[in-house]
Amino acid sequence: MKVRARDPKQVWQEEFEASPSRDDGLETSTISGIPLQPLYTTADVPRREEELPGRYPYTRGIHPSGYRGRLWTMRQFSGFATAAETNRRYKYLLANGQTGLSVAFDMPTLMGQDSDAPTSRGEVGHCGVAIDSLADMETLFDGIPLGEITTSMTINSPAAILLCMYIAVAEKQGVPPSQLGGTLQNDILKEFIAQKEFIFPPSPSMRLVVDSIEYCAREVPKWNTISISGYHIREAGSTAAQELAFTLADGMAYVDACLERGMHIDDFASRLSFFFDAHIDFFEEIAKFRAARRIWARWMRERYGAQLERSWKLRFHTQTAGVSLTAQQPELNIARTAVEALAAVLGGTQSLHTNAMDEVLALPTDRAARIALRTQQLLAYETGVANTIDPLGGSYFVESLTDEMERQAEAYFKRIEEIGGVIPAIEAGFFQKEIADAAFRYQKELEQKRRIVVGVNDFTVDDEEPIEILRIDPRLESEQAGRVSEVRRKRDGARCTNALNRLRKAAAGTDNLMPYILDAVRAYATEGEIMQAMIEVFGTYTETAVV
């Protein structure tokens, strides 16, 4: 008698269901809540034309040679205390093989105020370096040739001012703006959505962003004028799909704003860059990075009609997830960071910051910062993961998850469009509520032990050994305040006042503000003074807090 062969997948399904289940109450979904099947097969991946690296839609990477041609840039975000101390840390990192700089500013600098402002009390030099004027910026990059290195600056509301300071320091080193390479975060939309370091209302904020994009397209053509950031959205508690969707939606809002200004898509699109979080759910993150490239390429080519291939390519920086680090058994953070960094590399990142194990407690010590950098070097040079391009391409699971990410992102684009676009959605509190809901849901899952964080809600120890942390000398604040008042005393007061008056007048009109800001910076106007001049015209923004 002839027995018809049974469908092997059916057989497996039955065997799987008959097998004992772990039954430990843990979620069988990604950390973002995407339900997971126990097994993925060919049936989960739709047939599509073969995707290849360096070719539209770039799912498998923007370079035909992957990391064979060039490794990712190891760019450790760093800055603390004074410009002089941070300058020493930069030289230390460069001497240890770091390949690009990334400036972390302190809270007063990020919020556009000088170190001697009353509300700067207790904040100076704490979570980054204190920069008040061109004088501090000169110290920060002393002995570092700006024509030979690329620098990323994480700053948003006052981004134009800090970029002008960088241009002015380069001028003094004899380096023309056309030779400068680097990235300005300059992404105000995600500030309104997640990180909340806004100062001006949305409309003048967007004007400043477009001013800097327009100015750089002409004068600083190698500069990435914006780093459209999902990192902060994710850290604020969003899911991976929300991070992806909200970030790309922000990107399209910047494109729309530049087109409205009369720029041509291919004149600025290739200088837009992105910045994502690498969270702990390994495969979900890889899928997110791959989906980001595919979605962006399609929108740029098909919706915006960009003609140049370089306009279609989504380039991104990645930082491992600060929010995944634990204060408990902090050495475990080295392992977490390594897994997250591996996801970023397998996802094809252009540059990477790996967090130091002690960053959950304070800014990193030299030792912790070195281990974080060494983690990247270990991935690059020991593990062999950089030898094959997009090694997970074709994985049933990763391809299926990439498609799922794309589906969820497109669904969000529709919802945002229905609300009227990104800024109306911000004003309606849409993103803020989505993120807060996701954050609360995750916290609940932790409390109910449906998810485990090792060392926090399971595998805990009673006696935590304290680890060494970096302390900021409290005397620094008054010293920095002294420096800024000395700058005010020594500069050509009339030149400075005139420059600020011209800026104020220009802000009330429609001129591109970059040349005016650059003049004020060159005249040693402080960051706080330049911001104040613009606040007088633009006003400030307060959000309605939603819990």
């Binding site: 207790g122 979570c127 408990q328 993120i435 954050a439 304290p466 807090a545």
Partner: protein, 140 residues
């Protein structure tokens, strides 16, 4: 049997300092609300004076502070001092955020009742409040 008090504890939760990281404060605010407390969230960038104003206006018994920028050693004691200045030391101050262990003892000495650091279960904060205000808490 559930204890029902006439007046649930009112808590003003606030972000002091310049940083805008409001994930923690919002999660805690929701959890306290779910636990039956009346929660008023002030929003971002509150000065110590603004926080105390809000607490007095709202007739709050508790102030919860959140900060992630490293300025806690300046700003938490400044809230306590402002309460003293306004003769309102009956208001209990607790806080949370990125706060190293060594600083916790110093903050307690300066009059902050409790500090909750990253990884603290929400229930621990609720339990602490229940202990502190046993009569006035509505059981959920």
């Amino acid at each position: 049997m559930a204890k029902v008090a006439a007046k649930p504890v009112r808590i003003v939760v606030a972000k002091v300092g310049l940083d805008g990281h409001d994930r923690g404060v919002k999660v805690v605010a929701r959890a306290l609300r779910d636990a039956g407390y009346e929660v008023i969230y002030t929003g971002l960038r509150q000065t110590p004076e603004m926080v105390v104003d809000a607490a007095l206006q709202e007739d709050a018994q508790v102030i919860g502070l959140s900060i992630h920028s490293g300025a806690h050693m300046t700003l938490f004691p400044a809230v306590v001092d402002e309460l003293k200045r306004r003769d309102a030391t009956d208001i209990v101050v607790f806080g949370g955020g990125i706060i190293p262990d060594d600083d916790i003892a110093a903050l307690k000495k300066r009059g902050v009742a409790e500090i909750f650091t990253p990884g603290t279960p929400l229930q621990e904060i609720v339990d602490w409040l229940r202990k502190r205000f046993p009569e006035q808490t509505r059981k959920p």
